[in-house]
Amino acid sequence: MSKVPYEVYTEEVQALSVLSPEGEIVNKDKLPELTDDQLKEIMYRMVFTRTWDDRAVNLGRQGRLGFYAPVSGQEATMVGSEFALQKDDFIAPGYRDMPQIVWHGLPLYQAFLYSRGHQHGGQIPEGVNVLMPQIIIGAQVLHAMGIAMGYKLKKQKQVVITYTGDGGSSEGDFYEALNFAGRFTLPVIFFVQNNGYAITTPFSKQTAALSIAHKAVAAGIKGVKVDGMDVLAVIKAVQEAAERARNGEGATLIEAVTYRFRPHSLSDDASKYRTKDEESEWSIKDPIVRFGKYLEKKGLWTEEDTARVKEEAKATVNEQIKKAEQTEKMTVAGLIDSMFEKTPKYLEEQKADFQ
């Protein structure tokens, strides 16, 4: 029998927390080492992401964006987890994880093009190590595992992070990916944003497991739980997982407990299944408010800074949505030519119908 290299959870896992809702450090040992400039950059990105989300919802209502999955409330998990990576690490996102790939290098107007349904939205720039957002829940978790296998075989030190939600942890592909990552000791971080709901289905109806972090046990990998409204705790958890991965110690499953202030998508009405009490309870834990209090006490942030970033974000969104709208229209011939490296004769013939 091989020795189990981690703690087997038989009781509720305590979520790693660094900041209290009042912005006080409650866990000095787990405080990530960050410079003042880095702390300010994290706050900048979270405020920017919240403003972008507000604007995106409005642009969606105006018909200027298409498919859009709101993110407000999840800024700590999204911005924090990406910030803990290095530039050449790889991200395999789900459909809600646009902020991570934008902060990793995808131009914002391309994110808008993806939303509108334009092929250029998926043309990730060379050197930006991300995949397109994945619609099939669980498929990206397998891709992350395969990409991590590539790093291992090439003996490169990069790590891969992939995201899914609490509902996604019920998929077969989720388990298969964790299991392969354990079997091959792969440098990959499985990051589950547990916001309590998969569309209308609450987490309690996904599983009888005590937590998603427990599911790591089945794959023989490390599982941790983190306060997903605490950006410093998220950064610490991802940094530790990335370090283990770079050291050849294999995969980590991170469950980040978070909450989304907006509905699942623009066509969802959350009031049908969530209560006002629940929403106000979570709003106290708002990751931006909490981190803002911490920075204000350190003299690194003011309300004016927040107002300035909001204006900057609005201006950037306006400019980027215009750029998206001005992007050259697609042609059917162009789509046909993107099917294969060399367009086969039967497709060449079909092109003629559209020219």
Binding site: Q119, L142, M149, L153, E176, F180, R183, E341, P344
Partner: protein, 325 residues
């Protein structure tokens, strides 16, 4: 030149490519240590090491997902699905993820993967080992479908498939692995994907086929020849892209055709072949194009499969119908 059966020819193709290109990598259930349940990859792990040829846990979707991820990393995965009936587990990764990768990313990423799988009836295998599922793959945009019928084609087509920068579904008929030996060059050579082969020339009727039924058609043609009917037999070799030109050229000569496939009647590729003949050669036809195929049932129980599968007699009957139309 060496004498090889189809299994040895496939192994030789993989060996040639493992040697030539360090990015070629082979994995699947039991393909490493023992070289696969049919020993197609026997000896390759020993020759190329465990990082190039390795066993995976038993999970087809993850095998597909690993192939997609490794493709993004610049590898050229040859992923084996142990039996054709188990591709259902991997369909999302094969038909949604790999097949759409180039299109979804506007060319930024691609999926240079070969999914190998054995299939095909007549060997009294267990349930879901022998079904002809090529039609399902062939109707999915973005993935090519190859079905060799002999050792020479199998090697040349597989080398082409491995070098192709888009995904290829490569089907190996169980009944052909050890059926016969043929001359196969030891050096590397390719057969272009999308090119059919006229395996027998004739002037009276065209029999279009692929995989095992090419051989059934040859048997039928031998009988027909005794009655003075000269059948031309086309082995499609590749179902996507389909070589309609070779088919049309043959029909211009024979003016009659049938399509023979092992898949059930409303599956496989026969209907698509007939539709394209209608579009491109209807004025050359003296009779409708008929199909010889399995009935539209679930794949039969082992003890009745020889009756269910296309036989020379059913092919001869179909030819007689189009001759006498």
């Amino acid at each position: 030149m060496a004498q090889m059966n189809m299994k040895e020819a496939i192994r030789d193709a993989i060996r040639v490519e493992l040697k030539r290109d360090p990015n070629v990598i082979v994995f699947g259930e039991d393909v490493g240590n023992v070289g696969g349940v049919f020993r197609v990859t026997e000896g390759l792990q020993k020759e190329f090491g465990e990082e190039r040829v390795f066993d995976t846990p038993l999970a087809e979707s993850a095998i597909g997902g690993m192939a997609v991820g490794l493709g993004i990393q610049g590898f050229r995965p040859i992923a084996e699905i142990q039996f054709v009936g188990f591709i259902f587990e991997a369909l999302d990764q094969m038909l949604v993820q790999a097949a759409r990768m180039r299109y979804r990313s506007g060319g930024r990423y691609n999926a240079p993967i070969v999914f190998r799988t054995p299939f095909g009836g007549g060997v009294k295998a267990a349930e879901l080992h022998t079904d002809s599922l090529e039609g399902m793959i062939a109707q999915t945009p973005g993935i090519k479908v190859v079905v060799p019928s002999n050792p020479y084609d199998a090697k040349g087509l597989l080398i082409s498939a491995i070098r192709d920068n888009d995904p290829v579904f490569f089907m190996e008929h169980l009944n052909l692995y050890h059926a016969f030996r043929a001359e196969v060059p030891e050096e590397d050579y390719t057969i272009e994907l999308g090119k059919a082969n006229v395996v027998r020339e004739g002037s009276d009727v065209t029999i279009i086929s692929y995989g095992m039924t090419v051989h059934t058609s040859v048997k039928a043609a031998d009988e027909l020849e005794k009655k003075g009917i000269k059948a031309e037999i086309i082995d499609l070799r590749t179902l996507v892209p389909l070589d309609i030109d070779t088919i049309v050229n043959s029909i211009k000569k024979t003016n009659r055709a049938i399509v023979v496939q092992e898949a059930q009647k409303s599956a496989g590729i026969a209907a698509e072949v007939i539709a394209q003949i209608n579009e491109k050669a209807i004025l050359h036809l003296e009779a409708p194009v008929l199909r010889v195929a399995g009935p539209d049932t679930v794949y039969p129980f082992a003890l009745i499969e020889d009756t269910w599968l296309p036989t020379p007699a059913r092919i001869i009957a179909a030819v007689n119908k189009v001759m006498e139309f």
